[in-house]
Symmetry: C2
């Protein structure tokens, strides 16, 4: 299984691009620096839950949605 | 909205009790100390993604499942 920080970063980038938002704009929305956003997207940070929440708010999605990775989508039965 | 560490901790405790597992046993499964598990359940730690992943593995659930909180369940449409 791939590193969780890599998978999380890829998902953030995916959602950001779906919303047609720059790293700078997302950083502004999340109150995080552009460099931090860039590092996270590259899987270079071991992100804390406080930062996870900022990304969810900035991307306007529920927190769990940041952890829905394509290889797991079919297993979702709540 | 409640603090993300509080909500996460409550969810960990809920899943642990559903599996009828002690904090000590969960700590063993996750390679985390009993005290750390206890702190997390009380919302006293700003948990990193690496630790989140350990909880998911120890509880044998997908990562996103740790972030499915009851107030959001009805919004799940993947």
């Amino acid at each position: 299984m791939e590193n969780i920080n890599i998978r999380f970063g890829r998902r953030i980038k995916e959602l950001r691009l779906m919303q047609n938002v720059s790293q700078e704009e997302l950083g502004f929305r999340c109150q995080l620096s552009k460099n931090y956003v860039s590092d996270v997207e590259r899987g270079r940070r071991n992100v804390s839950l406080k930062a996870v929440e900022k990304f969810a708010l900035g991307l306007k999605v529920p927190v769990y949605y940041l952890f829905v990775w394509h290889d797991e989508e079919e297993t979702v039965h709540l």
